[in-house]
Symmetry: C2
Subunit: 346 residues, 2 copies
C-alpha cells in the first residue's frame, strides 16, 4: 500500500475520480489505429482483418507487485507486459490496452499517473496505446489490464497444435524475474540486472508474429514457469515434451544471484514465471532466428527433463500458493508472512 498525503499533488481521494481520469488520459498519446480514445463510455480501436485478439490479466499488490520494491512506472510496465505477451503468444500484434485501477483513496496522484505512464511506455514501441479504463476505490491496490491485438490476416497460434517430431524453442529470458524476486526477498544487495528484470520484464513481442509467419504449430507465453506452461501445451495438444537441460543452462546473472541467495538457478529457469518469454513448437528445421531449441515433442503425455520428471513444483498456482500460506508452509516470494508495511512515499 502506498500513502502520500504529503506527496506532490496530493492523493487520489482529494483529487476525485473525474479529475484523475482527465489527468491520466492527458498522459496517454493515441495511435492512428485508435478511432476513439479515453473519455467516453467506450473506446473504438481498429481491427483491420475483422477479428480482434483480447486477453485480461489482474495484478494485486502484495501478490504480484510490492510498492516498496517497484515504482508505479515499473508496475505499469509489468502489467502491460503480462498482457501484451499474451497477445504476442497468439502470433498477434498488440493494438490497445484498457486498464481497470482499484486503489485506496490515500494513493498518491503521482502513483496513479506513474502507473499510466508505465503502461503507455511499454506499449508505445509496439504501436499500441492505452485507450480507456476505469478507476474505483478499494482497500487493495489492484490493476486489471486488458490487451487487444490484430492477427493481420493470420490464423491464431494456439496451445493445441504441437505434434510429435516438433522442436521446442524459446525466445526471451527464462528465470531472470524469479532470480530478481529471490534477491529482493532475501534483501540482498546488488544483482541489479535480475532485479530490474523482475520489475520490468522484457518479453520478445516481435517473435510472436515472426513465429506465426515461420509456420509454428503451438505457442504460449511463459507466465507460470516453463514446465507448467509447456504442461498446458502438452495437455492441449495431446503430446509429450522432453526438455534438454544442457540447452537450459542458467544465464550468468542467474548463477551470480543464486550464489548470493543459496537457490538453485536451474529451478528459476524451469519454474520461474513472469519473464514472459515465448515457448513454441516448430516443425523440425523451421525454427526462426532469435529462437533457441530447448527440447523436442514426442508421442505421449507430460513434460520431462532429460527423459525424467523434474523433482519439485512445476510452477505457480495462485490459489495453491495462498493455500500453502494457510498451512504455514515456508514463504515463497510474495507472501503475507514476509510482507512489511512500505515506507510512505516522499
Amino acid at each position: 500500500m502506498v500513502t502520500g498525503s504529503d506527496g506532490p499533488g496530493g492523493d487520489v481521494g482529494a483529487l476525485g475520480e473525474f479529475a484523475l481520469i482527465r489527468a491520466v488520459a492527458a498522459r496517454l498519446p493515441q495511435t492512428a489505429q485508435v478511432h476513439l480514445g479515453p473519455g467516453d463510455d467506450a473506446a473504438v480501436v481498429a481491427a483491420p482483418d475483422g477479428r480482434v485478439v483480447a486477453t485480461t490479466d489482474v495484478l494485486v499488490e502484495g501478490r504480484h507487485f510490492r510498492t516498496d520494491w517497484s515504482s508505479a512506472r515499473d508496475v505499469g510496465h509489468k502489467a502491460a507486459a503480462a498482457n501484451l505477451a499474451d497477445v504476442a503468444a497468439m502470433g498477434a500484434r498488440p493494438t490497445a490496452l484498457l486498464v481497470g485501477l482499484a486503489m485506496p483513496p490515500e494513493t498518491p496522484v503521482v502513483w496513479a499517473l506513474g502507473l499510466a505512464e508505465g503502461l503507455g511506455d511499454e506499449c508505445a514501441p509496439l504501436g499500441a496505446s492505452v485507450v480507456g479504463g476505469d478507476v474505483v476505490a478499494s482497500p487493495v491496490l489492484t490493476v486489471a489490464v486488458t490487451a487487444l491485438g490484430s492477427l493481420d490476416g493470420r490464423e491464431p497460434v494456439t496451445r493445441s497444435g504441437a505434434r510429435a517430431g516438433d522442436v521446442v524453442a524459446v525466445a526471451g529470458r527464462l528465470g531472470w524475474s524469479a532470480a530478481g524476486l529471490a534477491v529482493l526477498s532475501a534483501q540482498a544487495q546488488g544483482h541489479d540486472d535480475v532485479v530490474e528484470a523482475h520489475r520490468r520484464p522484457r518479453p520478445p513481442y516481435a517473435q510472436g508474429p515472426q513465429a506465426a509467419l515461420a509456420g509454428v504449430h503451438a505457442m504460449c507465453d511463459v507466465s507460470d514457469g516453463l514446465l507448467a506452461d509447456l504442461g498446458h501445451v502438452a495437455e492441449s495438444s495431446g503430446v509429450a515434451v522432453d526438455l534438454d537441460l544442457a540447452a537450459l543452462a542458467p544465464d550468468p546473472p542467474l548463477l551470480a544471484a543464486a550464489a548470493t541467495t543459496g537457490d538453485d538457478a536451474r529451478s528459476w529457469v524451469l519454474t520461474g514465471g513472469e519473464d514472459h518469454a515465448l515457448v513454441a513448437c516448430f516443425p523440425s528445421g523451421a525454427v526462426p532466428p532469435g529462437w533457441r531449441q530447448v527440447g523436442v515433442v514426442n508421442a505421449g503425455s507430460g513434460v520431462t527433463v532429460g527423459g525424467v520428471p523434474w523433482p519439485g513444483a512445476a510452477g505457480f498456482d495462485h490459489f495453491a500458493s495462498a493455500a500453502s500460506e494457510a498451512r504455514g508452509d515456508p514463504p515463497r516470494g510474495y507472501h503475507p508472512a514476509t510482507w512489511q508495511p512500505p515506507r510512505p512515499a516522499s
Copy 2:
C-alpha cells in the same frame, strides 16, 4: 467476503487456479462470432466492420456489491450489465466479455461458478459470450469486466455531439437501483421490485443501436446519476442541459420505497446511478419509440432542473465518497461504517 469451506465443492484455494478456470470455461457457451474462446493465451472475436468497441469496469466487494445482499449470479449480471450498457451507449452491439476475478482463497467454488453463470446469462440474449479472463488470489473480492462490441458499420455515438435545440430523452429506468440500495441499507422489508433492480439492473441495450440509427447526436449510460452523466455530456459538447422535473416523476415503486425509508424519490431519479439507463440528445422530432423526452439542450453550460441548479450532490464520485467516509460524514449506501460481516454461505 464470502466463506464456504463447508459449501458444496469446497473453496477455490483447494480446487486450484487451473481446475477453476476449466470449470468456469465449461459453463460458458460460445457464439458463432467467437473464433477462439477461453483456455488459450487470448481469445479471438469477430469485429466485422474492422473496428472494435471496448470498455472496462471494476466492481469491488463492499463498495459496488455485498455478498450478503446479492448472490454470485446477481453480481455477475450486474458486472456484465455495467459494461454491456457502455457498449450500447456508443450505439454498438455487444459481442464478448472478458473477466478478471480476484478473490480470497476461501471463496466457495460455487460462488465463482455462479458469477460466471451470471455474466454469461446477462450477455447471452444479446448474442454475446464470455470469451476469456483471469483468476488470481486477493484479500478483496474484485470483478474486472471488459466488454467488446461491434458498431456494424455505424459511427460511434460520443458524449460530445449535443447541440442547442436538441431534445434530451431517456430509455430505461431511473432511480430504481438507488431505491433498492436505500431499502437494503435501511434493512427494510418488502419493495422487492426495487431491490431486484439493484441486484440486477436491466439496461435498455437495444435502444443504443436504435438511437444511432435514428440519428442521435450524443449519448451515454447513466452510471453515476442523471445529473452527473448529463454534466459530462454538457461539458464535452459545450452546451447547457435543462431538465423538466414533471417528466422525471418517480415511478410508483420508488414512491412506495421512499415512504418506507424517508428518502426523497426525486433525488433517486436525478442522482441515482447503476440502473444503466441510456440518456441521449436527439434532433428535435427524431426521438424514436421507447425513449421519453425529459429535457432540452440550450446554448451555455451546466445542467439545470426547471431552469435552476439542483440542490445537493449530482451523483457518485468513488473517491469523494471514500474521502467523505474519512471525514466521518453520514453513511450513504455502500460504506464501511454500515458494513456487517456476511453470513457464511450455506
